[in-house]
């Protein structure tokens, strides 16, 4: 590896955050957020989901007001009440999901609210388009300023966000997982842009889950865990193992309590499943006692496959067998009866009725069994919920309280319990730990490990590589609607999975010049 910028720039940080904290109700999202961002450096902010990175970013962006702590810009104490104030102070944020106006042109997206006007107050479109054309050219992209944003790739949308930041003369650029949905050439282009900006003196805060990117791009690393900064050091002094150890902060073996289970019969067999334009020729087996992970980038078609297997979405071709018996496609009710359960990705939208009670949610899938004299027995409902609650170690004071009052981890347990109540043979679980804290994660992993020990077949869709590597017996990797790799637990590592997910033979990221 080539040496990075070796000496850290001395002097006043462009942006400094000290001991910032923020709570939402009883949830302490950020306990001790601290950060020193120097001009002309790319600074990595690392941590697992739930470590408090997003909260910290939103404080810097003026979206949240911190409960405590101090922020300094170029040495001066500042507080932001609105995103506009942060923007005026030279801070630009590129969020994971671009915040663009899809119905408007690229130029309007960049200049919304500050369009150049003539002396009658009329928007000077010619000037605006010229400026944007120059801006886009300086970023090395070939896009017309007049083009509508709708239909642009994620990579191009991010470039527009960057162009917006540049047009504001931002000297702090925060990028929240910008590479999550990019292909390798697009990542390269983004890195080239980031290096150019860095050389112009912009301070860049770069959040990512891909450690190879940290070494390729950044000069300094700050690591957060459980809402607090735990470590920071120049990138050149670190190795991958150091970073992972600091991020996880606990023994990996106990965090991922995956026991070796001898796989049994094939419980789920999928052959040649195809949905035109979405996924193609998907074939795989999941055996009893086995966790098979479905990895890949967002948009590779993983959730779509799960939905098709479960029968929510139609498919154009293919066969599915559950425990050796063929399953009719496109019929969720039949799938449930055959022993299939799906825990969806977005709990709030697809898995839970937030206003209903915990007990009601947990029993929704088996209401038929609770009926007495044609009416649902509330007593049986609470009893059933109690059973699963105890087993999954649900933390709830009252099973009659609305599910919306639970923490993310406990909500996930209710969803899990609701499906386990149907007595499934095959459990499909989509992003089992998205948006829940580290402690709850460990409990969800524990529950999954116990289920497979009892002979459940689990298909787990996950974007988090540590989770995939820690829990899966086998890893299927999808790229643009196809399965591009089938890797056994012993052979699985980050590089192999990422290269298959990117549809490339090998991942080689360029290093800083």
């Amino acid at each position: 590896m080539e040496p990075q910028a070796e000496v850290r720039a001395e002097g006043t940080p462009r942006l400094e955050l000290r001991n910032a904290s923020k709570s939402f109700g009883r949830v302490r999202a950020l306990i001790d957020g601290s950060l020193r961002l120097m001009p002309g450096e790319v600074h990595a902010l690392l941590g697992e989901n739930g470590a408090g990175k997003s909260t910290l970013v939103k404080i810097l962006a003026g979206v949240y007001r911190p409960d405590g702590g101090e922020m300094r810009i170029d040495g001066h104490a500042r507080e932001f009440a609105t995103p506009a104030q942060a923007r005026d102070a030279g801070i630009a944020v590129i969020y994971q999901e671009p915040t663009l106006f899809f119905d408007l042109s690229i130029a309007e997206n960049i200049y919304m609210g500050r369009q150049p006007v003539d002396r009658f107050g009329r928007i000077d479109y010619d000037m605006m388009h010229r400026e944007v054309a120059t801006l886009l050219a300086s970023l090395g992209v070939d896009l017309k300023p007049e083009r509508l944003v709708r239909g642009l790739s994620i990579a191009d949308q991010q470039v527009i966000e960057i162009a917006k930041a540049l047009s504001l003369n931002a000297n702090v650029l925060i990028m929240d997982e910008p590479t999550a949905a990019l292909s390798l050439p697009e990542v390269e282009r983004l890195f080239t842009i980031a290096r150019t900006l860095r050389d112009r003196g912009v301070a860049i805060l770069f959040i990512t889950h891909r450690l190879e990117e940290v070494f390729a791009l950044t000069q300094h690393v700050t690591i957060m865990r459980d809402g607090a900064k735990v470590f920071d050091a120049p990138t050149v002094t670190l190795k991958t193992q150091d970073i992972v150890a600091k991020m996880v902060g606990r023994d990996l073996a106990t965090f991922y309590p995956k026991a070796d289970v001898r796989p049994g019969e094939v419980m789920l067999r999928v052959r040649g499943l195809t949905r035109r334009g979405v996924f193609k020729d998907i074939s795989f087996d999941v055996r009893a006692g086995e966790i098979v992970a479905l990895a890949g980038l967002v948009g590779a078609g993983r959730s779509e496959v799960a939905r098709a297997v479960f029968g929510i979405d139609p498919c154009d071709a293919g066969q599915i067998q559950i425990a050796g018996k063929p399953l009719a496609l496109g019929k969720p009710a039949v799938a449930v009866k055959a022993g299939l359960a799906l825990v969806p990705e977005d709990r709030r939208q697809q898995g839970l009725a937030l206003e209903l009670s915990i007990a009601r949610n947990a029993s929704l899938t088996v209401l038929g069994r609770l009926v007495r004299f044609g009416l649902i027995s509330a007593g049986r409902e609470v009893q059933l919920a109690g059973q699963w609650g105890t087993r999954l170690r649900l933390k709830a004071s009252d099973l009659n309280a609305p599910v919306g009052t639970l923490s993310g981890g406990n909500q996930q347990k209710v969803v899990l319990g609701k499906w386990l109540a149907t007595g499934p043979k095959v459990l499909i679980i989509d992003e089992p730990t998205r948006g829940i804290d580290v402690g709850a994660k460990a409990e969800v992993y524990g529950a999954l490990a116990e289920l497979v020990r009892e002979g459940m077949a689990v298909l787990m869709i996950s974007s988090e590589l540590p989770e995939v590597l820690g829990m899966a017996d086998r890893v299927l990797v999808m790229h643009e609607g196809r399965i591009t790799a089938d890797i056994a637990r012993a052979d699985a590592n980050e590089e192999r999975i990422m290269s298959a997910a990117l549809g490339e033979a090998n991942v080689h990221l360029g290093h800083a010049a």
């Binding site: 609105t82 995103p83 506009a84 923007r87 915040t99 663009l100 106006f101 899809f102 119905d103 408007l104 042109s105 309007e108 919304m112 609210g113 369009q115 006007v117 107050g121 009329r122 928007i123 479109y125 010619d126 388009h129 010229r130 054309a133 070939d142 896009l143 017309k144 300023p145 007049e146 083009r147 509508l148 709708r150 239909g151 642009l152 790739s153 191009d156 334009g277 979405v278 193609k280 643009e480 609607g481």
Partner: protein, 351 residues
Amino acid sequence: MMRHSTSPHPLHGDEPRTQRRNAGALAEALARSRETTLFVVLLLIVGGTALARPQFLNLQNLRDVLLNVSIVSLLTAGMTIVILMRHIDLSVGSTVGISAYAVGSLYVVFPHMPVLIALGAGLAIGLVAGAINALLVAVGRVPSLVATLSTLYIFRGADYAWVHGGQINATSLPDAFSRLATGVVLGIPVLALIALVLLAALAVYLKQFRPGREYYAIGSNPEAARLAGINVERRVATGFLISGAIAGLAGALWLARFGTVDASTAKGIELQVVAAAVVGSVAITGGVGTILGATLGALVLGVISIALVVLHVSPFWEQAIQGALIVAAIAADTLLARSVAKRMMRKRDHG
């Protein structure tokens, strides 16, 4: 003239075109062509009716269409601004009604009131109505569907309570005021000219001025609009004020056009207005639509209603046909969006 991206750009004229840009250009061309499509539909209706009944194309019918459409198209323009922001204003019919009767009553008391004062009074009443809606939606955060449904009943109820079965007749109105509807300049009714000027001004406002673009931004992505520093509440309030003001002015014009008004004047017109906007390809989901499109939508519906009379179709069919047109307009939009999405998908599969 009121659409964007039509001017050729010498800067990028001869660059090699990428596939992605083609898809974008296609989407844009289709989006633009919706107004062209509406225009073609309009010509087809006029042409078809004229072929079946040549007497359709006489001056009286054309004048009727223009006069009828003038008021509805103004209301549709106001509604467009509101719909652009993902809101709706159902109270415009009641505002027209109460304003028409109020201006008429003013003439009963002050028979020599100048025309401009009368129009100003209508406008002022509309502003008050708009301010009530703005307060409910922008400050009280009541969903606009509920807020303006309530004010629809409140304004209409107040109207009934006040009017008590009374009526204003054309005889109470001075000639100068009636000439707004009957007068002609260069062969075009004055009322239509007023509408044209206002529509053009609104089109320029939406296209050429920052506040105009902010309506689109809010409807396209409210969260991003906030992050861009737009004062969303103020913009929403302004939208409802404009819609109310236009409805108030339309009330005065309605009085000039029909002469006779009572408590049920313009009842139910709000749905015609929403229909015209939707047929005119103003997206009910916000962010998309132009004054030109909305006006063409109002024209299509107006021409159809006269064509049905000329063709001796039972007037009962008119509403069914309006409904079918709305479905057709929305279906066309959806199909269009899907075909664009499919193209991109195919590119992904083979690219």
